[in-house]
């Protein structure tokens, strides 16, 4: 059963990755693109965290007196923990740029931006 779930986790990773990517390439709205990128990013997080699981293991917090206790892998958790916080900061930077684009061009739709910039 866990075997199937293992694959299912990775399948969900692949599906989410591609849903995010689809939004980035088809949606013209810049905020929608950033939402797509967030989904893309979360999919990568899911893949890393899926790798950390050890069967029969528990969260990597050492319990006193526990003998032969298996622990899940702490390393992917550390990498993703910091990546989440960095992710929100970079998303905020992207949103700030979107807000400035709206200020200057009056729109955040890609096709309208292209039309605005077309050489006369």
């Amino acid at each position: 059963m866990l075997e199937f779930l293992g694959y299912y986790n990775y399948w969900v990773f692949a599906i989410l990755l591609m849903i995010g990517f689809y939004a980035v390439i088809t949606r013209g709205n810049l905020i929608k693109k950033l939402l797509g990128l967030s989904i893309f990013q979360s999919a990568v997080f899911l893949m890393y965290i899926t790798m950390d699981k050890v069967e029969g293991g528990t969260a990597p917090i050492i319990q006193k007196g526990a003998v032969d206790q298996l622990y899940s892998n702490p390393l992917p958790q550390v990498l993703i923990l910091t990546a989440i916080v960095v992710g929100v900061s970079t998303t905020a930077l992207g949103l700030a740029i979107v807000v400035r684009i709206k200020d200057v061009y009056g729109t955040i739709e890609e096709h309208e931006l292209f039309e605005e910039n077309r050489p006369q």
């Binding site: 779930l5 699981k53 910091t82 930077l93 949103l95 709206k102």
Partner: protein, 323 residues
């Protein structure tokens, strides 16, 4: 039982992601994104990553949503996208997805103890943490000490992103723009969120401090605590208004926090050099190397917490100030 629950959650994740992409109302999309983050956090918890789940719940469902809403208030709430080339895009996406799924059959199955990822440094971390660092939470030990360089870099990325947001948004908005109705102002007129929110804020801050200082023993640490405390203060700003929040914590204090946290982290690293060790080598900070490691981790976690809290609040105020 837990497996059925995990399958359910994962399926729900996909459904939510599709809904985020399909809806044309951006407000709905952002709200669905918050649900997506919460589901993701539950998944992380099932996969034994308690620290990551805590971070995702505080950052993904809390702070990210507020920042997206701040950006929506300044731009538009509905997308007017032109639908061209969807079939080509769908073809590319579906074929890439099928290739990726095909590749997963080569991956070690979930929970396989012999997977390559569990063979390299991870067993060493698990084995040596009680001996070298003497704290139960291995995630905190790896984050603060074994991979301290990495974390220092991440703190500076947060600092740089925060400075970037402040620079980009500091340009004054064009005056011809019609004043937008800020979503945050609406909350002030509702009694229930106001009363409940006021009651909740002290407890959220208290929980944040617990997460900060208990991070060596249980799930927690600077990143989570910074985000949790920032959410409490953002809630305060939403209820009492932007001006009142900035009166209690002025903007320059927030900027000072961002710099001070990163500086504290760097100084702890330099203290290691001064006392005869390497950069970010905490074992020389006290006569007992294990004690030194614990002091070092406590100090750098405090630095991380201060920077993350300050940066998230500065970013929030940068968006809110333009309303």
């Amino acid at each position: 039982m837990i497996i059925v629950f995990a399958l359910f959650l994962l399926t729900l994740l996909v459904v939510t992601a599709v809904a985020v992409i399909r809806t044309e109302n951006l407000f709905v999309a952002v709200m669905l994104m918050a649900i997506f983050s919460l589901l993701m956090a539950a998944n992380f918890f099932i996969l034994d990553a308690a620290d990551v789940a805590l971070t995702e719940a505080a950052v993904g469902a809390g702070v990210t949503t507020v920042i997206f809403l701040g950006a929506l208030a300044l731009t538009v709430e509905h997308e007017r996208s032109r639908k061209t080339g969807r079939w080509l895009a769908l073809g590319v996406v579906v074929s890439t997805m099928l290739v990726l799924i095909y590749a997963t059959f080569d991956k070690p199955r979930l929970g396989d103890p012999t997977a390559p990822v569990h063979q390299h440094v991870a067993p060493w971390y698990l084995e040596k943490t009680p001996e070298l660092i003497g704290i139960p939470n291995v995630v905190t030990a790896v984050l603060g000490s074994f991979r301290g360089y990495d974390t220092l870099g991440e703190v500076f990325v947060v600092l740089a992103a925060c400075v970037g947001v402040l620079f980009v948004l500091s340009a004054s908005p064009p005056s011809h723009r019609a004043p937008t109705k800020p979503g945050s102002a609406k909350l002030r007129h509702h009694v229930v969120p106001k009363v409940v929110g006021r009651l909740l804020i002290p407890f959220i801050v208290l929980f944040g401090l617990y997460v900060q200082f208990h991070g060596e023993y249980g799930p927690g640490g600077g990143f989570q605590a910074g985000a949790i405390i920032a959410t409490a203060l953002i809630l305060h700003a939403l209820i009492e208004g932007e001006a009142a929040a900035l009166r209690s914590i002025p903007r320059r204090v927030l900027l000072g926090m961002v710099a001070a946290g990163a500086l504290l982290y760097t100084l702890v690293g330099i203290a290691g050099i001064v006392l005869g060790g390497n950069f970010l080598d905490y074992s020389v900070l006290a006569t007992n190397p294990v004690k030194g490691q614990q002091i070092g981790i406590l100090a750098i976690e405090a630095g991380v917490g201060i920077t993350v809290c300050g940066a998230l609040l500065s970013i929030f105020h940068a968006f809110a100030a333009r309303d």
